[in-house]
Symmetry: C2
Subunit: 351 residues, 2 copies
């Protein structure tokens, strides 16, 4: 779990004060990885740069990649004689996952792909701070950083992945475009459904998942003032992330990983594209999802898989079925006899 | 926040494995502070003692005291040449608070009373683990350790107070006697009401407080199997503790501190004795509380304050009104004009 967190409108302004005692010396910089959406926006000017700190803007148009992590680590190691005092990620799931992975790889030898899996990280990450600017992924609280590698899309899951400090400032999510707000919020909603309906569920995860789900319903099905709604979605993301940190996601995430690997479709919309077709597995969840879609007039793209070759389907099916824990959580120990490659291809073909 | 937590039936058996990497060397022991209720019970035999580890049984009949912390620290320093590898507290709020305070004082000079207040602890505590055997206080998750000092009952509130590791094993709460189960559970219920009705509330604390309150209602007003009920109350305590970690309690706690200081009344029952008379401040909460009392046939003692002298009342009123943050949270900035010493004495006299 994240040991330190502050919450509140305007809390971003405390970042400088929070980082100060973590600065080892003036030669050990803080590296800020920031979504390039904020280049030339006021947020960028409020970042408390000191000494030789570096600000790196990164596009979140594509899912984070292991090679991208390796390149960032190499760049930082080349530019500075000392190990940085810390890494600060500012943005959505992509930036937060990059910040987590870079902070691990700066203190562990080898390549990011070597650590994709469970508990492979030997040494602690360097100090790292997460500041979400969009709510839903749960990346701010989770013990994973999900990366597209040369062979798989898989998280670096470890106790060292979790941020040392998180700043939850709902004001930072004011600038999110509606569709992205919706798709990222649905990432939270969908992983709550998957966690709560899963066979791995325990009372710890359940209590977090139920609270996150309640908050998602309030945000996406009721009418609240925008400020209250931002607060609630930020907390939904937090609790939803806690819920899956101690349980597991399910079919939508397993299938979305395949879509993302083959077609580069981003995680939030990928989950939605899949989830709409999962009524046989998550009947109540899909019903609520359709109400949310309709309330917010979201038109999802169609025919995503209509022109794929058999080889493309084979790739997606293989990547997806490789996520054994997700399928077992969703369908139980006999999942392989329930979700055959043929059945999975048929599900993909509807998207 | 607690950086590491495990949850689940039987998870206590993982304690040895969890402590192993934290052992600095065979001369640096783990000190286990355990509620003496468990002396000669099976739990005591399952504690993974190694090398020169020490097991100290402590009575939880009285509230934890600063002098008791100082005596434990002196005893540990005298018995061992090295600083311990860590402190493990096993029990209810009293044992957990003692473990937190001892781990702080082993690494900070002076007396426990020197640190009662907010953020007075300069150096990190030594590694400390909390294992609750009763649910409700939230001591397992909070950043405070509430101690009776020579002059006041007040917490050592600091980021260093929080446990490094918590083990939530609902099986450990099987042995709690009914009345204690009820009064300690009500500690959680009451601090949820105080947090949710308080002026300090924000969306972070609210989401935790609401979930804890929902779980309390399930446990104390509905009929669930015992095992599920133990799970839920353990999570209620956890979320309730998180809620007040980022907001504040209110009138019942402020008054209960006075009762405890003067009469040594334990925190859980003290809160209940006060809360029953607070319907003008917490009407919905007191209504629910009365339903819970009646459902579980709890007979609270009466006439606690009927034979007190004016000087006794003065002492209680002074201790209670000293808890400014609690009163301000409950009644707003003008609390002093609302809760005069006369009015507070009148409230006490009903108990």
């Amino acid at each position: 779990m994240v040991p330190r967190v502050i919450f509140g409108k305007g809390s971003f302004s405390q970042l400088g004060e929070i980082l100060l005692p973590q600065r080892r010396n003036s030669e050990a910089p803080f590296i800020f990885l920031v979504d390039d959406f904020f280049e030339n926006r006021s947020l960028a000017n409020e970042i408390p740069l000191l000494f030789n700190d570096e600000l790196i803007f990164i596009s979140a148009d594509e899912e984070p990649k292991t090679a991208q992590v390796d390149a960032l680590v190499a760049r930082i190691q080349q530019n500075f004689d000392e190990l940085p005092s810390g890494i600060v990620g500012i943005g959505g799931g992509t930036l937060l996952d990059l910040a987590k992975a870079v902070s691990i790889l700066l203190n562990n030898d080898g390549l990011a792909q070597d650590y994709q899996g469970w508990d492979l990280v030997q040494r602690p990450a360097i100090y790292h701070v997460g500041i979400p600017t969009i709510s839903g992924t749960g990346a701010e609280v989770s013990r994973t950083t999900v990366l597209l590698g040369p062979e798989k899309k898989l998280g670096i899951n470890s106790d060292h992945t979790t941020f040392d400090q998180v700043i939850l400032d709902p004001d930072l999510t004011q600038t999110v475009p509606t569709e992205q707000w919706f798709y990222t919020g649905m990432d939270c909603f969908i992983h709550c459904i998957e966690s709560l309906e899963g066979t791995y569920l325990n009372a710890f995860s359940q209590s977090y998942g139920e609270k996150a789900l309640d908050l998602c319903k309030e945000v996406f099905l009721e009418d609240h003032p925008e400020e209250a709604s931002r607060d609630m979605l930020m907390m939904a993301s937090w609790h939803g992330g806690m819920s899956i940190a101690y349980s597991q996601v399910g079919i939508a995430h397993a299938m979305s990983y395949g879509l993302s690997y083959l077609l580069g479709i981003k995680h939030g919309i990928g989950n939605c594209l899949v989830f709409q077709h999962l009524e046989e597995f998550y009947p109540e969840g899909v019903k609520l999802f359709n109400q949310m879609l309709s309330k917010h007039n979201i038109q999802m793209p169609k025919g995503i898989c209509s022109n794929l070759s058999q080889s493309d389907f084979d790739t997606m099916v293989e990547v997806s079925l490789g996520m054994c824990a997700l399928w077992e959580n969703a369908l139980g120990k006999d999942w392989k006899s329930i979700m055959t490659p043929q059945r999975l291809q048929e599900l993909y073909s509807r998207i």
